[in-house]
């Protein structure tokens, strides 16, 4: 995983609550055995007017003009602003893969579903939880005539939103550490192999049927 770098980005406002992972990346694209290439099928059923199939070239597909992702005003947006409980439903990591593959680097919402949140962090995608009132304000700004830009400073835990000023963000310290250093947490865990072996020995004495 690459270390998370601070950046200035454009906000895409997706004004829906409970956006589920089936909507983020529909099931037919989960047949892939690769980790990349999901971007063109991000929000497939909302984004296109036809039915998407895996392996299809999406460049000529009819776009849904009413879906915000297709609004030219937000071209190049890499910060997704959305409503509560984003990423609910299935545990498919294809959801953050698709968001990252499309170019999103930050997600802002009043809340995220637990498994999705975990999967996002593992892929260097930063989920930021903000109070509902602040999210409302950002929606107001992001849906104006000009797109909203935000400076994301993960190192100092703050956002600077144009027209709104500084917003402090709160991230789990371990997640913060992993994101800014781009850590591979399997490698990290393997440094504790002795602790794991000691645990197994202890546990086998207490609950031998687990290791039978």
């Amino acid at each position: 995983m690459k270390p998370f770098e601070n950046f200035r980005g454009i906000v895409l406002p997706l004004d829906r609550a409970n956006v589920d992972t089936d909507a983020i990346i529909p099931k037919q694209f989960l047949k892939s055995i690769a980790r990349t290439g999901f971007g063109p099928n991000l929000f497939d059923e909302w984004r296109y007017l036809d039915q998407g199939e895996p392996g299809q070239d999406c460049s000529g597909r009819p776009l849904n003009p009413d879906f915000v992702l297709n609004d030219p005003k937000y071209a190049g947006a890499n910060i997704l602003l959305t409503r509560r409980n984003f990423g609910c439903g299935s545990s498919r990591e294809h959801a953050p893969w698709a968001l990252a593959d499309h170019g999103f680097r930050v997600l802002i919402a009043p809340s995220f579903a637990d498994i999705f949140h975990q999967n996002a962090i593992k892929n260097g995608l930063l989920p930021i939880v903000l109070d509902e009132e602040i999210v409302d304000e950002l929606f107001e700004l992001a849906t104006g005539d000009e797109p909203l830009t935000i400076d994301v400073d993960l190192h100092n835990l703050k956002l600077d939103a144009e027209g709104r000023g500084t917003i402090e963000i709160d991230i789990d310290p371990f997640h913060h550490h992993c994101l800014i250093h781009g850590l591979d947490d399997i490698g990290l865990t393997l440094t504790h192999a002795d602790d794991i072996a000691a645990y197994e020995q202890r546990r086998a004495a207490e609950a031998p049927w687990l290791f039978g």
């Binding site: 980790r35 409980n85 439903g89 545990s91 637990d114 498994i115 550490h177």
Partner: protein, 468 residues
């Protein structure tokens, strides 16, 4: 005296390998279930890093999402689906992981197979790259869904990095009415606490109505914990739990089983243990449930009517209701019992077990599927469930009534195989998610219990199963 602990506290404490300065723990994982959709990239990750599974025997793999439910002997027609299943087979061979392949009669949905084989045991930590792993909590195990990176992490290290969740007790007090099932309990709970109500929590289900459920019923309740936002649901261990596990192929045997059973029964929540949130539900007040929208929280009793977004004060929620009604093609005020259906699906990790098929067959026995129903299908949760149902003659009951009797798999719960809804088709489904497009692009899903689904097939619309 020691502080009273919950079942979750006890399992957590027994599985912490170490805790770092940030309060993140390395948690030991006892078992992992593996299926074809969320594992290929995990195995590829191991290969790229030159890593081996730490404990191959702690994993059990079975293809379920992509498998066809008809003409099994012909294999998988869709080449992309076929490649994914073949990739699972190749990975299991390469890394020494036990696999029940498509031709094995033990093949089925991971969450049906694990308990059936005794792979799932009380007190364990169990994960799978699938959100419905919460099912296994019915055994008093801490079981939750993980993403593919975590599947790889568990393969490589037998551990996961975790922070302890908050705890919620949902007590379903008193006795259920006739015709009301585990599915109705869990839908009613989701209706009450909302689809994000359990976020950040492990839900422990308790109360007389939960104790009275069979293991199958408890699995149905725990299965849909994720639909309430909780990664894990858990139920205390009792004699029913122990007797269900006893004698199963992968369960401990003989003296070791007795030792295990004594340990398991000691894991239950202590009297006076504290929860971050407690919810009480009166079992007698629960009626057969039907979802009307595109989130499992959009649910009402069958005698209810489609709600009016104009009466919802919260603008975000009102917006969700409007989207849902437009997608579902429903008008506010329509009685749920007037909603006509095109298809009926009985199956899934929520309701694809023997008890579910018995309940549906009881309603279907001697009756006919309405002529307006294009397809009514029954998909057993596993090959062993299918075998048992056939031994009881349930297949004949369904076939005579006009249902199709299929091979086991996830099927139209998520429509990754050929079983799916066409745009605009409306389905009564015993599965777990009514999300847009879940059962096929443009498809409209209503979640119900197996008995309610069978009754809907017979009448061509929703009916109150208590009046059938």
């Amino acid at each position: 005296m020691a502080t009273p602990r919950t079942l979750y506290d006890k399992i957590w404490d027994a599985h912490v390998v170490r805790t770092d300065e940030h309060g993140t723990s390395l948690m030991y994982i006892d078992r992992q279930l593996v299926h074809e959709v969320t594992s290929p990239q995990a195995f590829e990750g191991l290969r790229l890093a030159g890593r081996e599974p730490r404990w191959p025997e702690a994993n059990l793999a079975v293809p379920d999402h992509n498998v066809p439910t008809t003409d099994r002997h012909l294999g998988i027609a869709d080449p992309i689906s076929r490649l994914q299943v073949e990739t699972l087979e190749a990975n299991c061979r390469e890394f020494g992981i036990q696999l029940f392949d498509m031709g094995d009669k033990r093949q089925g949905i991971v969450h049906v197979v694990g308990p059936e084989e005794g792979f799932t045991q009380p007190g364990m930590t169990i994960v799978c790259g699938d959100s419905h792993t919460s099912t296994h909590g019915a055994f008093g195990a801490l079981a939750f869904g993980v993403g593919t990176s975590e599947v790889e992490h568990v393969l490589a290290t037998q551990c996961l990095l975790q922070k302890k969740s908050k705890s919620m007790l949902v007590s379903v007090d008193g006795e259920l009415g006739r015709g009301v099932t585990a599915k109705d309990i869990v839908l009613a709970i989701i209706g009450e606490i909302g689809t994000a109500g359990g976020t950040g929590h492990v839900i422990e289900y308790a109360g007389d109505a939960i104790r009275a459920l069979s293991m199958e019923g408890r699995m149905t309740v725990c299965n849909m914990s994720i639909e309430a936002g909780a990664r894990a649901g858990i139920i205390g261990i009792d004699e029913k739990t122990v007797e269900y596990v006893r004698g199963r192929p992968m369960a401990p045997q003989g003296e070791l089983f007795e030792q295990a059973a004594e340990y398991w029964l000691g894991l239950n929540s202590d009297p006076g243990a504290e929860y971050d949130r407690v919810v009480h539900i009166d079992a007698a007040s629960i009626r057969p449930q039907v979802t009307w929208g595109t989130s499992p929280e959009m649910v009402l009793p069958v005698d209810g009517a489609v709600p009016d977004p104009a009466e919802i004060a919260d603008p975000v929620k009102a917006g969700s209701y409007r989207h849902a009604l437009a997608y579902m093609g429903l008008e506010p005020g329509t009685p749920l019992a007037q909603i006509a259906l095109d298809k009926v699906f009985i199956g899934s990790c929520t309701n694809g077990r023997i008890e579910d098929l018995r309940a549906a067959a009881e309603v279907a026995r001697g009756r006919k599927v309405a002529s307006s129903i294009k397809l009514a299908m029954v998909v057993p949760g596993s090959g062993l469930v299918k075998e048992q149902a056939e031994a009881e003659g349930l297949d004949k009951v369904f076939l005579e009534a006009g249902f199709e009797w299929r091979e086991p798999g996830c099927s139209m719960c998520l429509a990754m195989n050929a079983d799916r809804l066409e745009p605009g088709e409306r389905c009564a489904s015993t599965s777990n998610r009514n999300f847009e497009g879940r059962q096929g692009q443009g498809g409209r899903t209503h979640l119900v219990s197996p008995a309610m689904a069978a009754a809907a097939a017979i009448h061509g619309r929703f009916v109150d199963v208590r009046e059938v």
